[in-house]
């Protein structure tokens, strides 16, 4: 893949999730997939095939990893998953642009996401 390419629907994307956002049943809150103020509507993720658990999680005392297919955000008009490697993270990608008024993208990702366990 080249920087700027649209990630195919079947690819898994990984998102680092704060432990406080994980429910007792193991599912995850949509808040984990809501872009931060500085992100301007783009959610940072890693492409599964390119990253490793250790590289993506940073600190397993604070975070866990959830994954979802690129097809989930692609179901929303004008939302794309774009390969966007950055210095120090060649797996980095962006999901967006998510309209800040649209809570449904984050919730849809959360409802379809699954937790990654690697030990």
């Amino acid at each position: 893949m080249e920087k700027g390419d649209r990630i195919p629907d079947e690819r898994w994307l990984w998102r680092r999730v704060f432990l406080n956002q994980i429910k007792p049943d193991g599912s995850v809150s949509p808040r984990a997939f809501s872009p931060r103020p500085k992100d301007e509507g783009f959610l940072s993720v890693d492409v599964e095939q390119i990253t490793t658990f250790e590289r993506s999680i940073l600190d397993d005392s604070k975070f866990s990893i959830f994954r979802f297919h690129a097809a989930i955000p692609h179901a929303f008009p004008d939302v794309n998953c774009i390969y966007d490697p950055i210095e120090g993270n060649e797996a980095h990608s962006l999901v967006g642009r998510i309209d800040p008024e649209d809570e449904a993208v984050a919730a849809s990702i959360a409802l379809h996401a699954e937790r990654i366990f690697i030990r």
């Binding site: 680092r16 956002q21 429910k23 931060r36 975070f63």
Partner: protein
């Protein structure tokens, strides 16, 4: 098994609007059809579920800025207060609360589910409140949330 202690000590809620809905919640001991009629809000005993959610919301105050190491904002006090008021309102209606979570923009969320239906209410700083509703993981509706929407939204969730 019905929670008889809860049913004996806790009076039926009385709200300032007319609605009617039924609920059956494992762990809550609610197996009655509740009619909510016009009136004033009285004293009531919080369920264990609501108390746990209120404690969780209080703990969000300890989460600092940049809690995700990527610039997330700490939960705002007005969002926490709005979330707590909402939890109390839901509990008066004997609605089981599934989860509460902090968000990266200072917001807090309150989540509900029943069968294959799911709702998230999001309380942002400065009084911006939103909700989404899903059935079978498919978006059913979303929009700005106003307290007057609660009866119809809960009717949708619980039927």
């Amino acid at each position: 098994m019905p929670d008889t202690k809860y049913q004996q000590k806790r009076p039926l809620p009385v709200f300032a609007y007319n609605t009617s809905f039924s609920q059956e919640r494992p762990g809550m001991g609610h197996r009655t059809r509740t009619s909510v009629t016009t009136g004033s809000i009285g004293e009531f005993e919080l369920s264990e579920n609501a108390e746990a959610m209120l404690r969780r919301l209080d703990k969000f105050r300890r989460i600092p800025d940049d809690w995700d190491s990527c610039g997330a904002m700490a939960s705002s006090e007005d969002a926490i207060q709005a979330g707590k008021r909402f939890v109390r309102a839901l509990d008066r209606l004997r609605q089981h609360i599934d989860f509460t979570a902090p968000g990266p923009n200072g917001e807090v969320s309150v989540e509900l589910k029943f069968g294959t239906k799911y709702m998230e209410f999001v309380f942002y700083p400065a009084g911006k409140w939103k909700y989404t509703a899903f059935e079978d993981k498919v978006l059913a509706r979303q929009g700005n949330y106003d307290n007057t929407d609660l009866p119809s939204l809960l009717r949708w969730l619980n039927h």
